[in-house]
């Protein structure tokens, strides 16, 4: 049985549409990340699932039952808020028990669930503290604990890591990954951080401009972005996109860039649309070599590899990768070597065309 189903969800705030017919089906126990820039509608979608917003039209179903007509507390979902939204005047224990009390769960059952969740989250010694007496990370765990005790069918995580410092974020990411193994429920996480989404999610839902742009497993999305937006948004540093014109003929497309250089791709020529194209290159497919076709603007040394932000002769910015021990310096002239076999092409409408997968 599918877990969550969204059927043609539409929503507008006044005259401003925010969701234009969003549909989605989740597998049981699936972890899905809604990824998108702010204003893409991902948070609104999450809030519609939670019942904090009402969709103008469409249906929300959870394990077959229609829930969009139910009040938030009866939908069988639990949410971890971006700023945790812990009740400041209640102790940790009361925070976790509050929802269960409202649901008239017997007191001993409440106690059992709270203790258990606290143990899992390693906050059993802080149960009688007030949120204000805890660190950010601890509060985050309380917020998660509050969701766990409800034993929901679906967890909703709203930017769960955005309020943590870098170190804590890494740790919590791991904990979230472990957590999802333990809970018997599906999870939706909203994030604008593609790395988080790629690390945690079974599938990513990339959203932009009120619509779902692409749904797929992280690496599928990374390798075969459905359009220019997804290509740019997923992956860090972002894919370089450069205007390109189709030249010559053959089974695979060959394009010329602004500086006159040509790239032979493995994108089948058949099916490519008329009109201007863009060539998409991930940094790992542009290597620094000898030559002088580009000027280096910035060098980012990451240790195991080096990112080189350079400029072609026509001024077009392009991101390339070099070895960790690269000696390239700002202002150097370098020769960039493009791996045309890994290049993507994007049509005038932004649609992506990808290199033929090598058949197994």
């Amino acid at each position: 049985m599918p877990s969550l189903e969204l059927i043609d969800i539409r929503k507008a705030f006044g005259a401003t549409p925010v969701l234009d017919g969003v549909s989605l089906a989740m597998e049981a126990k699936e972890f899905i990340a809604f990824l998108g820039p702010s204003g893409s509608g991902k948070s609104t979608l999450l809030r519609i699932i939670a019942g904090l917003e009402t969709a103008d039209s469409g249906e929300v179903r959870l394990e077959g039952e229609r829930i969009d007509t139910l009040p938030p507390g009866r939908r069988g979902v639990a949410m971890v808020f971006q700023h945790y939204a812990l009740y400041p005047h209640m102790s940790v224990r009361e925070n976790m028990a509050f929802g269960l009390r409202n649901a008239k769960v017997p007191a001993d059952e409440i106690a059992r669930r709270v203790e258990q969740a606290a143990k899992v989250l390693e906050i059993e010694h802080q149960l009688d503290r007030k949120p204000a007496q805890m660190s950010g990370g601890q509060r985050q765990r309380v917020a998660i604990g509050r969701a766990i005790v409800k034993q929901p069918k679906l967890f909703l995580l709203d930017e769960p890591l955005s309020n943590l410092d870098a170190a804590l974020r890494m740790r919590t990411r791991i904990e979230l990954a472990q957590l999802r193994q333990r809970v018997d429920a599906a999870v939706i996480m909203v994030t604008h951080d593609q790395a988080e989404a790629m690390t945690l999610a079974d599938r990513m839902v990339v959203m932009n401009e009120r619509r779902i742009q692409q749904v797929g497993a992280p690496m599928d999305v990374y390798r075969r972005p459905a359009n220019a937006f997804v290509a740019r948004f997923v992956g860090s540093p972002a894919m370089t996109l450069a205007p390109a014109t189709l030249v010559g003929d053959g089974d695979y497309a060959r394009v010329r860039l602004g500086d006159g250089s040509e790239v032979a791709t493995r994108v089948p020529r058949a099916g490519l649309p008329e009109g201007p194209l863009e060539l998409g290159l991930r940094p790992e497919h542009v290597r620094v070599g000898d030559g002088d076709n580009a000027t280096v603007d910035l060098v980012e040394r990451l240790g195991e590899r080096t990112l080189v932000y350079a400029r072609l002769a026509d001024g077009r910015a392009i991101t390339a990768e070099d070895n960790g021990d690269s000696r390239v310096r700002i202002g150097d002239k370098v020769g960039l070597v493009i791996d045309g076999a890994a290049a993507h092409l994007f049509g005038p409408d932004g649609a992506g065309y990808h290199a033929e997968e090598p058949r197994a």
């Binding site: 809030r47 939670a50 019942g51 904090l52 009040p71 938030p72 507390g73 009866r74 979902v77 639990a78 949410m79 808020f81 971006q82 700023h83 939204a85 812990l86 009740y87 400041p88 005047h89 509050f98 929802g99 409202n102 649901a103 509050r146 409800k150």
Partner: protein, 275 residues
């Protein structure tokens, strides 16, 4: 102006003199209250030296209405405070969090009330309460104090400052509108309640104009009205020492409350100021 620095000697002297001016009248009043009336009749300077007596205080307990007025004042002030806190919290929550037709216009309508002074309504209200037979009653004394547009404004602002995420968390926790208001948001407004409560209580405790014309029977006199009548009757009463003893007796409860809760009251006042 380093808050941690000590006062300069000149400033210390000035502040000390100021404090003396604040305290001297109170001490003088206490001294007068401890003197026999006949002695004061001849010269009040006799208060500077003994013999002192508690006779005037004994007289209060025996045959003065002050205790009764004190009770009336307490009933009226506590009733007003409780009413204002309830009404303003409800309305503040409603305006801050709920969506209903004409919400904005109604809020502006309430804000207009901030500019209406008591003088503009007190005479017609006296007529209105006469028709309703509300004079000389506790409701008659409490009701006008419940109309506190400032309280609604203040509570609305305070509710607005609470993150909406908390409401949402509570809704997901299955809380009803009322549970959300009562168990989650209202406890968070305690500082605001304290501020508004202190203001309302003091305002009601010290109100004079309205009880003067509404509570015209001594059974319903509040302290202010009762002591005003005692003061104006002074020429014909049991004497200055007794009068002052009444004043001290009547001030004691609120002064004691003030001294005990000084920190909270000051914090509450400051709470209003920061807004």
């Amino acid at each position: 102006m380093n808050p941690r620095a000590r006062l300069s000697p000149a400033a210390l002297v000035a502040v000390t003199i100021g404090a003396a001016i604040m305290l001297a009248p109170l001490l003088w009043t206490i001294l007068l209250s401890l003197k026999a009336n006949s002695e004061l009749m001849r010269d009040t300077a006799s208060a500077f030296s003994g013999p002192y007596t508690l006779e005037n205080y004994r007289a209060i307990l025996v045959g003065s209405s002050v205790t009764h007025w004190l009770l009336n004042s307490l009933i009226v002030s506590l009733g007003t405070t409780a009413g204002v806190l309830i009404l303003c919290s409800l309305a503040g929550y409603g305006f801050a969090r709920l969506d209903f037709p004409f919400r904005r216009s109604l809020f502006v309508f309430v804000l207009l009330g901030l500019a209406i002074p008591e003088q503009a309504v007190i005479l017609p209200r006296h007529q209105l309460f006469a028709w309703l037979h509300l004079h000389n009653s506790y409701p008659g004394l409490i009701l006008p104090g419940l109309v506190a547009p400032f309280g609604v404004f203040f509570m609305t602002q305070y509710f607005r400052a609470i993150p909406v995420e908390l409401d949402e968390a509570a809704m997901l926790d299955g809380a009803s509108r009322f549970t959300l208001f009562w168990k989650v948001l209202l406890p968070l407004t305690r500082p605001a309640q304290a501020t508004l409560g202190v203001f309302t209580f003091l305002g009601s405790w010290n109100d004079y104009w309205w009880p003067l014309i509404s509570a015209t029977r001594s059974a319903r006199f509040t302290l202010t009205v009762g002591l005003a009548s005692a003061q104006m009757n002074y020429a014909q009463t049991s004497g200055l020492g007794f009068l002052m003893a009444q004043a001290v007796f009547a001030s004691l409860p609120i002064l004691i409350v003030y001294i005990i809760f000084q920190k909270q009251i000051v914090a509450a006042m400051a709470g209003a100021a920061v807004r």
